[in-house]
Symmetry: D3
Subunit: 334 residues, 6 copies
C-alpha cells in the first residue's frame, strides 16, 4: 500500500484505572494519543505504510512518545524535536449516565508552538500518496494552522488524496482565528470529507438536520462549495448511555447515498479514538474496496475500537472482515 | 449552607480488585466507608458544610481514616480517639447472578465500644443545623445507641432538622436490645424519614405491601405514630441481576404522593453506598429545592453513585442536575 | 462423597489485565488451568473429594502448579514430575464483537510427552469411584492417548462411573491419530456423555442438526453405538456477543428428554472454564440429585462460572442452589 | 520425617507496597502469618510433615487462610472454625533509620476466644512426634493459655519433643495473667529452649548480660530450673539500621558452647518471620544433623528468610545447604 | 503552635514505579509536590498549623491537589483557582551511579501566570506568624516574583519570622530577571537563611569554599550584607552514589558555629523533598528548641525523609526525636 | 555508525515483581530478552544502527516481540516467522545470599527449530559492517549452529568485524554436538573475543587461572590458535552477594595488557543482561575510541545496566561518558 501521512499533535494521556477519579487514585495508566496518530497507528495495524509528522518534546517523555510510534512501525523520521513539553490530557472514564471527563494541558505544548518553517514538507512527503488532517490541528495555534496549510498545499500540488476530518471542538480555537474561515481554506485542498451534519453546518453556516434527506442535501451543497471534495462519509452514534452505544455510517459519494446497519456496542471498554478508527478504516478501505464496502469496513473498525483500552485501534484487517462476514458473537480465536 | 452533622462508625473496606475473590488475590484495594460518612462526604462533595462525629482508633489506621475525611473537607474536629482498632469489612464483588459478599470485623471495634460520656455533644453540635442518623448505629452496641440518643435529644432541643434512615439489618443487633423499641425511641426525635415498607413495617409491626397505595397508608400511619416526622421518602430498587439495576423514588410529604421515573443502571461499577447517596442527595436537595425536586435530585445522585468505585459518591451538583435535565447519554465533558 | 479422579494437562494461563493486548502490556495475570483440573477444582469447591493425575515440570513453575491444586484441596499425590516444561497458554480477552484470542505453547510440554508407563494406575485409582476425561487429552500425543486408555480400562474394570467430555478441537490432533477412531475407542469405556451435536456427529460421522428432535435421535444412536453410555447431557450457549451469553441445557437419559430454562449472563467476567463448570456441576449433581436436577445444578454452576476471573469455578453448593431457588438478582450476602 | 505440630493464631497481614504508609496508599498486599504457622510452613518447605492446629473464622477470610496453609501442604484437618473474625495486623515497612511499625486487631479474634474444649488433642496429635509452641499464644487470652497447656501436657505424656520459643512481647499479656508464671508452667513441658537472654531473664527473674559467658551461665541456670529442657539455642541480631542486619547463633546443649559466624544481610527484603525461620531451621536441623550443624542450618535459614517478601520462609534444604557450603555470592541458579 | 505560611507552586509528580523508565512503563505513580508544600506538609505532620497559598488549576487535577493538602490538614482557604493547568514534573528514579532525571512542564502553568493582584495578602496572612519562601518561586516568572515580594513586604511589616531557602536552580530563571538581584531584594525581608556556600556565593558574588572556616566567614558576610538575617543554617550531603548518602548540618547563628554528626543513609527510598524536610524540621525546631537542637532535629528529619516514597516527609516529632535519642537501628514499633 | 547485526533467539521473560516467588504471586512482569537482542538494543540506545535476525512465532506473542524491537528502532526486516511458539524463561529474583533462579521453556521454541535455509544471509547482511554472535546460539540446536555458521562465513567473506561472546552454559548443548568443537569452528570466523578464562579454557582445553598473568598467557594462546582473533576483552565480576557486585575489565589487544578500576554496584536493581551491556559498550566503543577507552566505556555501560529493570540497557552515550568523567554520585539531571 502507498504511504499515508498524518500530521498533528501527539498527546500523553493519563488516566486512573477503570472508572476511578484522580482524587481517589495514586497510580495512572498512560498512553499516547492524538486524533491523527490514532488514525495513523490504526492504518499501520491494518498493514498500511504510515508516516507521522509532528513536533515533539526533546526529553525522555518525547523519546517515549516516539518509541510508541516506532513500536507500531509508524515512520517517525520526519518528526522534529522541541524544547517545549509534550501536551498532556487527563481523563476520568465515566460509566452509565456519568460522562467521561477530560482536562487538557496543551495550550503551550511543543506542537502548539510549531512554525511552518520547522517542517521540510518537500522531503517529508516524498513517498506519500495520501494525506490525512483533522480539525484539531488548525484549532491549536496560528503556527499549527500555517504549518498544516503548507503541507496541504504541497499535497494538492502532488495530486495526492487528502482526507479531511474537520471535527469542530469549540473548547479549542482560542488564538483568534475564525474556525469557519480556517477550515474552509483547508477544505479547498481536500478530496474526501469525513464528518457529519455538525461539521457541514459549521463550515457552510447552514442548519441542516440529522435526517438522511438533509445529509444528502448538505453533502451536495458541501461539494458545490468545495469542488475538490468528491465524497462525504458520516458516522452516526446513538447512545443508550456512557457504556452502551450503537454505530452506523452513511455516505454520499457524488452518485449515491448508502447507509450501513447499526452495530450494537453493549459493553464499551474505551470510547476514545473511535472516530479516528472510523477514519482509519475508511482510508484503508478506500484503497482496497468500493465506497460502500470501505464504509462498512470503517464502521466495523470503529465498533471494534470500543473494545480496546487506550487510544489505539488494534483491529487487524482479518478481525474487521470477520465482522463484515457476520461473526459478531465473539467465539474464541485459537 | 448550614452544617450537617453525621454520627457513626468509620469502617475500613478491603476488597480484591474487580470481581476477584480473596482466595485468588494477593492485593486488596482499601477505602473507608460506613453509611453515615458516606452521606457526609457526598454532601461535602455537593459543596455542603459537614461535620462527622465518631470514635476512631489511635493508630496509623485511624490517622489514615481521619486524613480520608479531611481530604473531602469534612470537619473532623469532634472525632475522639480510642485504643481499640478500627472496624473492618471485607468485600467480594459479585456480578450477574453472583451476589456480592461481605464479612465484618466490627463487633469489638473502637466505635462499638463508645460510651455517651465520650462525646461532648454541646460543643460538637454548636454550629450544626441538621443531624443525620441511621439504623446501623443503634444496632452496634448499647453504648452506641446511648450516645446517639444523647445527640438526638440535644438536636431536637436545638430544633434542628433530623433525618432518620433506620435501615434494619438483622445480622447486627446482637447486644440484646430490641430493634423495634430502640428505633422507635430514636424516631421520636426525627423529622424526616428515609426508608421504605420494610423499615416502616419493622417499627410499626405492620405488614404493608410494596404498592404505592400501601406506601401512602404506611406513611400516614408512621406519621401518626411519630408526630415529629413530617415527610417520608422511599427509594425503590429493581434488580435484573447484580450488574444491572433500576432505581426510582417515591414520597409522602403529608400532603401529596409523588414518584420519579425509573433510572436504568445497565452496568453497575460499585453498588456500595448507593442508598447513602440517596440520603445525601435528599438532605442537600431539601435545603435547595421543593420536596419533589429534592427527591429527583436524590434519585439521580443515587444512580450516579453506582458509577464510582468505592463507598463515596463523587457526584457534583452540576453532574446531578445534568441528569435531571435529561443528559443521561454520557457525552464527554471537556 | 466418593473420590473423583481427573487426568489431564495442567497449563499455565498468562493474560494481560482486563481487555488489554500483550502489545500494550507490561504485566500479566497468571492462573493454572486445563479442562480437567477446572472440573476437579470445581468439584473440590463443592466439597467433593478429588484427585488429579498429571505429568508436571520439575521446576519452580511445576511447584507452583502443584501448590495451586493443593490450595483447593485437590489430592496431588499421584502427580509425576517431568524435566520438560509446563505447557503455557496466552490469552487476550475480547469484548462485545471482539473475540478472545488464545495462543498455545504446549506441543512439547511435560504432559504431551507422557508415556503410559509413567502412571501407576492401580495405585492411583485405589480410592476412586468416578473418572472424568475429556477430548483434549487424547488429542495431544500418542503417549497421552495411550495413558488415558490404560486408566479408562482399569476404571471400567473396577466398575466406576466414567464421564466423557469428548470436546473436539481441530487445532489439536497433530500427531497422526484419527480423532474419530481414538474418541470412539475411549467412549467404549464411558458411562455418561457430556457433549452436544458437534461431538456426536464427530464420533458417529452423522449430520444431526441442533434441534431437540435431532438431539434425541442422536443421543439414541450414540447409546446404540456405545452401549456403556447411559445418559447424554448437552449445554447450549447462545451469544449476543463476547460479553453477553445465554446458557441452557438438555438431556436424554435413556428414558426422557428434559431441557432447562435459559440463564441470561448479561455481563461476562471470564468465559474460560465455563464448560468445565457444567461438567463439574453435573458430576457433583448426579451424585446428589436426580438427572434433571443435576442438569439444572450444572447449568447454574456454568452460569456462575462466567462471573469469576480465571479458569476456576469458585461457586459453592449453597450459591448454586440459590440460583435454582430463583435468587438471581444478586442481593448482598452479609 | 516425623510430623511436627504447631499451634497458634493465624493472622492476616496487610501492608502497603514497598515502604509506603497507609496514608499514601490505596492498595495493600496481604499475606497470612503468625509465628507458629511461619515455623510450620518453613518446615513444610524443607520437606517436613507439618500439622497446624488453630481456631479460624468461618467466613471467606478464614477459607482463604486455610487454603493458604493447604497450598504449602500443611495439614489443616485439625483446624476448628469460629464465628469470630480472623485476627489482622497492619504493617508499615521502614527503611534505614525508620523502624517498621505494626498495629494489631487481634484482641477479640477467633483464636483469642479459643477454649480448651474446642480442640480434641488426642485426635489432633495422633501422628505427631514434635510440638512447637511460642510465647505469643499464652499471651493472648486465658483460653489460649489453657488450650496450649492441655496440648503440651499430652505431648509430654506421649514423650514427644517440645520446642519452646517463649518470645516475650510486653504489648500482649493484657488479660491479667502474669507472664513469668504462665511461661514457667509451660516450660515444664518443654525439651528445647529457643530464645536468648531477654527470655531467660524474664522467666528466671535474672539480669544476665548478652555476653557469651553470661549466656552459658544463664542456660545452665535455666536447665537447672526446668529439668525437662536439654538444650538452649539463641539467635543474635546486630542492626546497622532497618535495612541492614547481621545474624549469628549460639548454643549451650548441656555439654558444650558453640557459636556460628556472622551472616551479613546487607539489603533486607522483609524482616518479618526471620526468628520463626530460625526456629524452623532448628527443628528441621535437629532431626537431621548434630546440634552445631542444626544451629548453622537454622542461622542460614534465618538469613535467607530476610530475602523473601511476606512472612513465609521459602528456602529449601538445598538452598540453605548452599550457604553452609559457602555459596553466599548469589550466582544464578538455572 | 503559631501558623506557618508557605507560598509557592503545587506540582503534580509523575513517575514510573521503582527504577523504571517511562519508555518501559504503562503505569505511573503520582504525588503532589513543590518545595514549599513539602515544607508545609512536613510541618503539619509535626503537628504544626500551616497555611499554603497558591494559584491552582480549576479542573479535577486542581481539585485533587487541594484535596491532597486538605488530607494533611494544611489550610487551603487562601488558594486561588486558575484556568491554566497545574504544573507537572516527570521523574525517572536512578540508582547507584545512575542519576535520577527530571523533566518539567511548568513554564506556562497556573502558578507561573500568577499576578500580585490575585492574592489578598492582608487577609491571607491574618493569623500567620511565620513565612517561608524558597528560590524556586522568584525563578518562575515576573508575576511570581512580584507576588512573593508583596507577601514578604507585608510579613516584615507584621514583624513575623521569615525563613529563606534561596535554592538557586540555573534551569529556571528564564524570564529575564537577574537571579542575584531578585534574590537579594527578597533576602532584605528575611530573618533566617537556609542554604549553603553555593547560595551565599550566588547572592554575594563570592567564591567561598565548602570548609567550615569559609562557611563562618561567608555567613558573617551574608549577615553584614543583609542585616535582617540573624542565623544561617546549612545542610551538607555527601554521596556514595544515587542510593547511598550521608547528611550533616552546620550553622552560624551570629554567636557560635555548631555542626552535627553524619547520618548514614545506606538505602535511599526517595531522594525528593529531603532538603525541604530539613527546612521544615528547622522551622518546627526553632519554635521548640535552641538553635543547635533545632538543627539536629532538622538533620534527623531530613535523614528520615529519605525513607518515605513521594515528596512528603511523614516523620512525626516522636520519630525524629527517636533518632536524636540514638535509636537508629530500626527496631519494630508495635 | 555502520550497521551492527545480531543473530539469536528472542525470549519472553516472565518474573514476579520485586523479590517475589511464583508461588506467592498472581501477576508477572514481562520483557523480551535474549543475549543477542540485549546487545543490539543497547547499541541502538547508544544511537547505533542495528539489525536483529531471528525466527519468531507467528502469533500475538511474536507480534509483541517484534514491536518490542521496533520500539527501540532495531531493524526487524530480516526476521522470519515460525509456527512454533516463542521461547520463554521464568525468573525469580534473589537478594543478598539468595541467588536468582531461572527456568527455561525454549528447547522446542521457534528459534531452536531454525534451519539455515530459512535465512537469506546475502540479503540480510547487505548493509552490515559488524556481526555479533554468542555461545548461546550454537548451544541450542544443530539448526541454529548451522544457521549461525552460514552467517559467519558470509560475514568473514565480506570482511566485516565479528565479535564473539562464546559464553559457555553447560545446561544447554543437549542436542549432541561437542561444545568445544562447535565453538572452535565459529571462532575461526571471529575477530574480537569477549570472554574470560572460563571460555578460553573451554575452547582450548587449558586450565589457566584468573590471574592477570594467566589472562595474558591465555589470550596469547587463544590468538595463536585462532589467528583471525585480534583482541581479547574480559569482564571480571566480584560479588559481595546477589545485591552487591563490583565490576572491572581487562584486555589483551595483541600489544598491551590494560585493566580498569573497580566500579562498585552497591544496590543492584537487575542483574540480567549486564554482560550483554558490556559487549554492547565494547562494540560501540571500539567504533569510537581506542581499545582502552572502549573497554572503560563498556565497563561503565555494564555497571549502569545493573540499575535498569529488565534485560535492556537504557544507558545513553552521555550517561556512560558521565561515569568515565567521574560523575558516579548520582546527582539529579533536570
Amino acid at each position: 500500500m502507498s504511504q499515508v501521512v498524518t500530521f498533528g499533535e501527539v498527546l500523553m494521556r493519563l488516566s486512573p484505572e477503570g472508572n476511578k477519579k484522580f482524587i481517589q487514585s495514586n497510580t495512572l495508566e498512560f498512553y499516547f494519543g492524538g486524533t491523527e496518530i490514532n488514525v495513523g497507528i490504526s492504518i499501520a495495524n491494518f498493514g498500511g505504510s504510515v508516516k507521522h509528522i509532528s513536533f515533539i518534546s526533546n526529553d525522555f517523555i518525547g523519546d517515549t512518545a516516539i518509541a510508541y510510534l516506532n513500536k507500531f512501525d509508524v515512520d517517525t523520521s520526519s518528526i522534529v524535536r522541541s524544547n517545549r513539553p509534550l501536551g498532556v490530557y487527563f481523563l476520568e472514564v465515566g460509566a452509565v449516565m456519568r460522562p467521561s471527563s477530560i482536562s487538557y494541558n496543551r495550550s503551550h505544548s511543543a506542537f502548539s508552538e510549531i512554525q511552518p518553517s520547522m517542517i521540510n514538507w518537500e522531503e517529508s512527503l516524498i513517498d506519500s500518496e495520501w494525506f490525512h488532517w483533522t480539525g484539531i490541528t488548525p484549532a491549536l495555534s496560528q503556527g499549527s494552522l500555517d504549518a498544516l496549510r503548507e503541507g496541504l498545499k504541497l499535497a494538492r500540488k502532488k495530486g495526492i488524496t487528502v482526507t479531511a476530518d474537520p471535527t469542530y471542538r469549540s473548547g479549542l480555537w482560542k488564538y483568534g482565528q475564525d474556525p469557519k474561515e480556517a477550515l474552509s481554506e483547508l477544505l479547498e485542498y481536500s478530496t474526501i470529507f469525513i464528518g457529519g451534519i455538525n461539521e457541514i453546518n459549521e463550515v457552510l453556516g447552514t442548519t441542516f438536520s440529522y435526517s438522511n434527506e438533509d445529509f444528502i442535501l448538505a453533502s451536495k451543497q458541501l461539494i458545490a462549495r468545495f469542488p475538490s471534495i468528491e465524497k462525504v462519509f458520516d458516522k452516526i452514534r446513538t447512545s443508550v448511555n456512557s457504556s452502551w452505544h450503537k454505530i452506523r455510517a452513511r455516505m454520499w459519494n457524488g452518485n449515491e447515498f448508502r447507509e450501513t446497519q447499526d452495530l450494537d456496542i453493549t459493553h464499551i471498554v474505551d470510547r476514545i479514538g473511535t472516530g479516528d478508527a472510523f477514519a482509519a478504516g475508511l482510508i484503508y478501505g478506500l484503497q482496497q474496496f468500493d465506497d460502500f464496502k470501505a464504509m462498512e469496513f470503517a464502521s466495523a473498525a470503529c465498533a471494534l475500537k470500543h473494545t480496546y483500552e487506550g487510544d489505539v485501534n488494534f483491529a487487524t484487517v482479518k478481525e474487521v472482515m470477520g465482522i463484515l462476514e457476520g461473526n459478531t458473537t465473539g467465539r474464541f480465536t485459537r
